[in-house]
Amino acid sequence: MRRVITVSVLNQSGVLNRVTGLLMKRQFNIESITVGHSEQPNISKMTFVVNISDEVKLEQMIKQLSKQIDVIKVNDITDKSIVLRELALVKVVSPANLRTEINAIVEPFRPQIIDTSKNVVTYQVVGHPDKIDAFIELIRPYGIKELTRTGVTASVRETQPVETLQLSILK
């Protein structure tokens, strides 16, 4: 199962290498990883997506990450109410005679056109990774010239659904 893990780290040189090296050594496969500054100075936040089905392995991974001296906090936020976002830049072959058609088709995804030339348009699309997948599949037949994705970043929603007794019975 896909897990979304956030890690707060001290912003030291080599810390990314420590985290990815550890995951490699313990045979965890990273699907995506994003890193950037957080609201606190000297602390960076990483968000990574890994595919782990085994609960024991997942727990082990979290413990091993927490053990790193430069790692301050590790959270598996998969089961919480979260906002997941990813950004993609997609260069699409879009000759003048097709451009209106393409623009109309992708419109529901609310992409932005950030660059354009005679035959090529670059879209920027932001959203849940599933939305980006759908966007890419939609536009693929027109010919994707180049595609870059940032990987997922995530944040936990301020208001979490309350687990009431009735709800858990319904489940």
Partner: protein, 588 residues
């Protein structure tokens, strides 16, 4: 050289007393500061080897000396530091130069990491202006050692050095202990520091990501106490965590108070007296039949400071099938890693044991269980079949044990001799067993013995090594004469890689591929070349007298004991099998 007054004062003070230096010596550059900070940490001995990138550091050591042990290879230095750290239970300190000096440490660092030995290692590095340019003797030691250290640092600003050193010692010696490496670029080792900016020794350490938990959770202790009272067949598995927490007397009190039988892991040997009536010996691949049987039959297994290594557990799915598992460990990541745990207790072993003692619970009703174990121990002791023509390695170790009265510091490499030493050398004391457990490093035992002898100058230190392993680090023989170390090296010489050969005999139909070494050096002559007295034992009749002379002398000795080549270590749990599948428990 400068004609500065304070430095000339220090040159005179050099070999006499350190007190004068403390008062007059003013650190000026990065290297002075390093030496100064080491002294602040109470370091009185370092193991190392100089080179281009650490010239400044060695110059500072010359001016403001800390006792420095010059090994003949960096691997010797780091294993010696490991031996020193293991015996004194405090960090060993190593200095090596950049590039090859640093990479020669890698085996020892890994060894220390996996066996949780506290070390602080300094490596030289090329100047920051050329890092990354493939400069002469440059190696990316931070990249190389990130997975094999508890933590590592590269000093980027000399004003950070005192803080880094303080943190390094703290990290190495607290929580689950381990090696910490500090990479020190050459230009920074010569930098003049700003006294006003330097982190003082009284400043508190701030490591938000490192706060090991030492106090046990009250509720978990309560659960554990309940489980102990209710158990019919309780068993304590004592690992090295007991030794690192200095909790031998607490462990002994704990098991005596509640009448709990104990088995040890290989690295936990010495956590209780070898001949204690509640001690049922070592468990695991070559452990005692009774110890392994106890694990398989117990209904409560109290693991204190052991990490359920595969050489202990065998097949994890069939390990201790009937037992409720209590696991006490300072490292939360060890809990549930290999064996599912029912009652986890993340704490320092000493604190947890004390809490269980103070609970004053009712002792379990386990009289029958103890009778059963005693009977089993009686029926299935370690065994060997004497041979008229050849010496058995077990006999040599039994003799070493009886001559030293179980009181010596014993170090080993890895392999057959290690297992026989673990089986037949019953340790009276803690912190006297220095062996390479997790990594299984050949060549570890002899330099580790050198470090142990520096740690305990008045104690008998015996390195029990194999003929093959000894040749991996035997250049360190030079130190015995130079530093007047009465280390005894007992070579269990079977002219083979004994354990490899044993596996080839048992699992590869006796195809001895590259495991026999019919032409070994003359170890007596080799010792002689280093001005160390060598002895040779070729018959069992002469063994006692020779060992007695060699081990009781105040001089170093190398004893070449020519033993039976085809002797196997038993009992044995074949790799990957369950502890129930143990073979060779009964005398053939």
């Amino acid at each position: 050289m400068t004609t500065n007054t304070s430095s000339s004062v220090n040159i005179e003070a050099n070999q006499t007393t350190t007190q004068i230096e403390e008062e007059t010596f003013k650190p000026k550059n990065g290297s002075d500061l390093l030496v100064h900070a080491l002294k602040e940490q109470g370091v009185d001995i370092v193991f190392g080897y100089p080179g281009g990138a650490v010239l400044n550091v060695y110059d500072a050591l010359y001016k403001n000396p800390i006792r420095h042990i010059l090994t003949r290879h960096e691997q010797g230095a780091i294993h010696a530091a490991e031996g020193y750290a293991r015996v004194l239970n405090k960090p060993g300190v190593v200095i090596a130069t950049s590039g090859p000096g640093a990479t020669n440490l890698v085996t020892g660092i890994t060894d220390a990491m996996i066996d949780s030995i506290p070390l602080v290692i300094f490596t030289g590095q090329v100047a920051t202006s050329v890092i990354g340019s493939d400069a002469f003797q440059e190696a990316d030691i931070i990249g190389i050692t990130t997975p094999i250290t508890k933590h590592n640092y590269q000093v980027q600003d000399i004003n950070d050095l005192p803080r880094i050193i303080k943190e390094a010692f703290h990290i190495a010696n607290t929580g689950r202990k381990g090696p910490v490496l500090i990479d020190f670029p050459k230009n920074i080792s010569a930098d003049i520091f700003d006294e006003a900016n330097v982190f003082g020794k009284d400043e508190p350490i701030y490591l938000p990501g490192y706060q090991p938990n030492t106090k046990p959770n009250y509720l978990q202790i309560q659960k554990a106490a309940q489980a102990i009272t209710e158990a019919k067949k309780p068993l304590v598995l004592a690992g090295a965590g007991v030794l690192f927490a200095d909790a031998r007397s607490e462990l002994t009190e704990f098991v005596e108070k509640y009448k709990l039988p104990v088995v040890n892991t290989l690295l936990g040997l010495g956590s209780i007296h070898g001949n204690h009536e509640l001690n049922f010996g070592m468990a695991g691949m070559h452990g005692a039949a009774v110890a392994n049987d106890a694990i398989q039959k117990c209904d409560l297994l109290i693991n204190i400071g052991a990490r359920f290594d595969d050489r202990l557990t065998g097949d994890t799915k069939r390990f201790a099938p009937k037992a409720t598992i209590i696991h006490i460990d300072i490292d939360p990541a060890e809990i549930g890693k290999n064996i599912p745990t029912d009652i986890p207790i993340v704490a320092d072993a000493k604190e947890a044991i004390k809490a269980l003692i103070n609970k004053d619970i009712q002792s379990p009703d386990n009289g029958e269980w103890l009778d059963y174990l005693n009977q089993k121990q009686n029926d299935f002791p370690y065994w060997y079949v004497e041979d008229e023509n050849e010496i058995l390695p077990q006999q040599i170790i039994e003799m070493v044990h009886s001559i030293t009265g179980g009181d010596a510091v014993v170090t080993t490499d890895v392999g057959q001799h290690q297992m026989w030493a673990a089986q037949y050398y019953k340790l009276n004391n803690d912190h006297c067993w220095v062996t390479s457990g997790g990594l299984g490093t050949m060549g570890f035992g002899f330099p580790a013995a050198i470090g142990a002898q520096f740690a305990k100058p008045n104690k008998k230190v015996v390195a029990i090594v194999g003929d093959a392993g000894f040749q991996m680090t035997n250049q360190e023989l030079a130190l015995l004469k130079e530093y007047n170390l009465p280390v005894k090296v007992v070579i269990i010489n079977n002219a083979a890689l004994g354990m490899v050969r044993q596996w080839q005999e048992l699992f590869y139909d006796g195809r001895y591929s590259q495991s026999l070494m019919p032409v070994q050096p003359d170890f007596v002559k080799l010792a002689d070349a280093f001005d160390v007295k060598g002895y040779r034992i070729t018959t069992i009749d002469e063994a006692g007298a020779i060992l007695e002379e060699a081990l009781n002398s105040n001089e170093p000795a190398v004893i070449d004991a020519r033993v039976k080549q085809l002797e196997n270590v038993y009992p044995m749990v074949p790799a990957g099998k369950s502890l129930d599948d143990i073979v060779g428990v009964k005398r053939i």
